[in-house]
Amino acid sequence: MYGALWRLLPGPVWLRILLLVVLAAVVLYCLVTWVFPWVDSLLQSNEEGTVAV
């Protein structure tokens, strides 16, 4: 999977590494902005009694 990604990237090694870093940054940004808050909202539980905080 990641091997295929590496082969798909163009250019010499330094460019591939640069592209990978950029890709990772984009993925991380999407995770923090949309995915994590969404997952977080799914994990809420509210028990009986005093509120679970």
Binding site: Y2, G3, V13, L31, V32, F36, G49, T50, V51, V53
Partner: protein, 300 residues
């Protein structure tokens, strides 16, 4: 052996070893490019470049590792990143709320206090019985809480209800008021809740409160000064901490209590901490904030 023969032989050998080489990250791209050109240029009939065998187990393994990394990232984000961000946001939102109260009370008439002598000889003033506001609608902000023990600049907006999504996790609130418990200044139990860890670490330091510590509540009417008295570690089902007289069923309250509940231990929710206090005094907004929080009120 002619040059061409040798080159062809080399090509064949390279083509055969290519899959193995691609597995190792050390393979220089220079060599690989050369191999590819040779492979596709010289053997167009043999299916162009050699294909890497994709193993199902390998892909599943990579997916699982990825999933593990994502979970760790999520936990790290939730514990540190999001909490720090929310802490800052909730703090500045509380400052905004405080400014709004002051703005609205600008033209309010200034009540005249009655001077009273305290037992230790110092003079203080009395503004009479504290005003009690009506409970607002769900998720409506109605107060700002300051607890110097939690940090000199610590403050939070208090909203009606303890709804997790709209109050406790909110970037511009953090503290919730249990519905149907007393409002600030009221005789009875003003009960509030907040997270201990996560979502701004709002009540993380409740266990550090010391007897006599001030808990200031600012509303549109004034500043209510409560003093921390004691705390108890209870089970989640112990709703009796929210009674009008905390822990006493069906008692007629004669005092003005505050109860702060939060989870315990940090990062877990097996227990609750309930911290109790009593109202000491109140003063209208026009009289200015209590000395201890004067620097914080209306500031950022």
């Amino acid at each position: 052996m002619t040059d061409e023969e040798e080159s062809a032989r080399e090509d064949w050998r390279l083509a055969e070893t290519l899959p193995a080489q691609e597995d190792s990250e050390g393979a220089s791209p220079q060599t690989r490019r050369g191999q590819r050109r040779h492979a596709s240029g010289r053997h167009p009939s043999s299916g162009s470049k050699p294909r890497r065998k994709v193993s199902v187990v390998g892909v599943i393994g990579e997916l699982l590792v990825t999933a593990g990394v994502l979970v760790l990232l999520f936990l790290g984000w939730q514990t540190w990143w999001q909490s720090a961000v929310l802490n800052a946001q909730q703090n500045s939102a509380a400052a905004e709320q405080s400014k709004k109260f002051l703005e609205h009370a600008k033209d309010a008439p200034k009540p005249t206090p009655t001077p009273v002598a305290t037992p230790d000889g110092t003079k203080t003033v009395d503004y009479g019985p504290p005003p009690v506001m009506k409970a607002p609608g769900p998720a409506q902000p109605f107060a700002v809480i300051y607890v110097p023990r939690f940090g000199a600049d610590w403050k939070r907006t208090i909203r009606e209800t303890v709804d997790v999504e709209s109050v406790l996790n909110s970037y511009n609130a953090g503290v919730g008021h249990y519905p149907n418990t007393a409002m600030p200044g009221d005789v009875g139990n003003f009960a509030i809740a907040a997270h201990d860890t996560g979502y701004g670490n709002t009540f993380l330091d409740v266990s550090k409160l010391q007897v006599g510590d001030a808990i200031y509540i600012q509303t549109k009417d004034g500043y209510y000064t409560y003093r921390f008295r004691n705390m108890e570690y209870v089970t989640p089902s112990a709703v009796q901490v929210l009674y009008s007289v905390p822990q006493v069923k069906d008692a007629q309250p004669g005092d003005r209590y505050i109860t702060m509940t939060t989870c315990n231990p940090p990062y877990h929710a097996q227990e609750r901490i309930a911290a109790f206090g009593v109202l000491e005094s109140w003063q209208p907004l026009s009289a200015g904030p209590p000395k201890e929080i004067a620097a914080e009120v209306g500031g950022s």
